[in-house]
């Protein structure tokens, strides 16, 4: 394992420190936590529903990179691939509540769900109105009542962008919960990996793939996927993902937003080639793409791979997706 780090145990605090010190116009750190909160001039004067997200680290720029006017109010970073603790989330909730309540955007992992729930209980004891939405966009796993349900992955950024813009516009906590649930219900993602991520404390990739193998349906924490296949040209990889995702929608009518997301070590060059193929394939299917985005937004440490997210959108969502924001990573 070759990484530019100091001590494995200090990775998260040092990372957050580096992020905050190089972006002090945008964010500040909540003392004694690894949570960051908006630090722009507008923030202190604003009365809007606070939007808090967070989760394990290793997915940068998610979530701290999306804190800023028009997106998240605060983000809480846990240890690598590990949900943050309730007390840190609770501090973030308190830091962003302006009396309008706070919405938690939680990726559907048992750890995140439980820790955010405990934080919610703590904040409610302080009479802060707190609601949450659970992002579960990863259609690579079956959604069954006998399991944990689907995972929350790259689609989370679309949820954060749309809810952040809607909150800035003055939508109420209840409206935002409903909107969030709608966006999540219309957001579908599948990821592929050419090489697993190396968790620093483990020191080797989370799973092994041969030189000519690619795994379909992986999660963002080295969760294994649904099949291993021979690596193929980008167009064929795109074909499989587009077919699966669009097949999961009831129809191809309407308007769609597309996110091609790099998993950490895959260069932008390859992401654009893949995006080009995705747009070709959607065009063949007569799917109208009204918003698209490419880049490392929800990474998995140094994983090699990409994920494709498609959201069925309405006009207002497109407006919210397009609205400018002041963040590190959007």
């Amino acid at each position: 394992m070759k990484k530019i780090i100091n001590n494995v145990d200090n990775i998260v605090p040092e990372m957050i420190s580096g992020l905050v010190r190089t972006n002090s116009n945008l964010v500040r750190q909540i003392p004694d936590t690894t949570a960051v909160v908006r630090n722009d001039a507008k923030f202190s004067e604003e009365k809007q529903v606070g939007i808090v997200s967070g989760g394990g680290s290793g997915h940068e720029p998610l979530h701290a990179g999306f804190v800023g006017d028009g997106m998240l109010s605060a983000a809480v970073a846990g240890q690598i691939f590990t949900s943050p603790t309730p007390d840190q989330i609770y501090e973030a909730i308190k830091a962003v509540d302006s009396g309008e309540g706070v919405l938690l955007i939680v990726k559907n992992y048992s750890g995140d769900v439980m820790n955010f729930d405990m934080a919610k209980e703590m904040a409610e004891a302080d009479d802060i109105k707190v609601e949450s939405v659970l992002v579960d966009d990863d259609i690579a796993v079956e959604n069954s009542e006998f399991t944990q349900g689907k995972r929350g992955v790259a689609g989370t950024v679309f949820v954060e962008k749309i809810l952040g813009a809607a909150a800035r516009e003055g939508k109420s906590l209840e409206e935002l919960v409903k909107l969030g649930q709608q966006v999540i219900a219309n957001t579908k993602t599948i990821g592929i990996s050419l090489r697993a991520a190396t968790v620093p404390a483990v020191g080797h990739p989370g799973f092994e793939l041969k030189d000519d193998e690619i795994e379909f349906g992986i999660g963002i924490h080295n969760e294994r996927g649904y099949s291993i296949e021979k690596i193929a040209p980008s167009k064929q990889l795109a074909q499989q993902l587009v077919d699966k995702i669009m097949g999961d929608f009831d129809e191809t009518e309407g308007k769609y937003a597309v996110l091609v997301n790099g998993m950490g070590s895959t260069p932008l060059m390859e992401q654009y080639i893949f995006a080009n193929d995705v747009l070709d394939l959607l065009k063949e299917k007569n799917v109208t793409v009204d918003f698209s985005k490419v880049g490392n937004l929800v990474t998995s440490l140094d994983m090699l791979g990409v994920s494709l997210t498609i959201t069925k959108v309405d006009n207002e969502w497109i407006k919210w997706l397009n609205e400018p924001v002041e963040t590190i990573g959007w």
Partner: protein
């Protein structure tokens, strides 16, 4: 069988030792069917408990469990943080009026079920906690028993936690949380036996 503050302190200290020694074993188990951090998480918890106990020696059983619970909740994170944290928090409440070991572990086990919305046979730590509390109630828990509970998770298909995403492929691996729980109850037996 009841447990004294002295025994419980020994128990927790032995648990801390085992967690520190087996950090990489737990990480490896979690790499196979999870995300590779269970050892790191529990080791962080172990250090937090040690620090908290060094700061202030608990006056009674309830306070000891509360100290353990808070250290875990505030430092572990992940799934295991709220789960172990809730178990010890509930045990702390129970210990105010109860020192029967089987009852206490039963309350902890129920706390995990509540927090995790889970039950036995889902390939989680409950598959160690639940039968352990029952064996204690019957007055006959051995290390071999604990080991059997742990091994029983091997052939289960996970339906809760990260391993559940693997569906059938989760079979054939020990559940990492059950392994750390086995350390917990091995430590308990060592502490009680002395």
């Amino acid at each position: 069988m009841t447990i004294t503050l002295e025994q419980a302190t020994k128990w927790i200290n032995l648990f801390i030792e085992k967690l520190e020694q087996n950090r990489s074993t737990l990480n490896e188990l979690d790499t196979a069917i999870g995300d590779g951090d269970h050892g790191t998480n529990m080791d962080r918890g172990a250090k937090a408990i040690k620090e908290a106990l060094a700061k202030k020696t608990p006056a009674d059983l309830s306070e000891l469990f509360k100290t353990v619970a808070f250290a875990i909740i505030q430092k572990v994170g992940g799934a295991s943080g709220p789960l172990y944290g809730t178990a010890f928090l509930d045990m702390s409440k129970e210990a105010k009026s109860e020192s029967d070991l089987a009852k206490l572990i039963g309350v902890g086990s129920d706390g995990i079920k509540r927090r995790g919305q889970s039950d036995v046979k889902m390939k989680t730590m409950i598959d160690v906690w639940d039968p352990t509390s029952q064996a204690l109630a019957n007055g006959q828990l051995t290390k071999e028993d604990v080991n059997n509970y742990l091994n029983s998770t091997k052939d289960m298909v996970a339906t809760k936690g990260r391993a559940s995403y693997l569906e059938q492929k989760s079979k054939g691996h020990l559940d990492p949380g059950s392994q750390s729980s086995a350390y917990l109850f091995d430590a308990l037996l060592e502490a009680m036996g002395a």
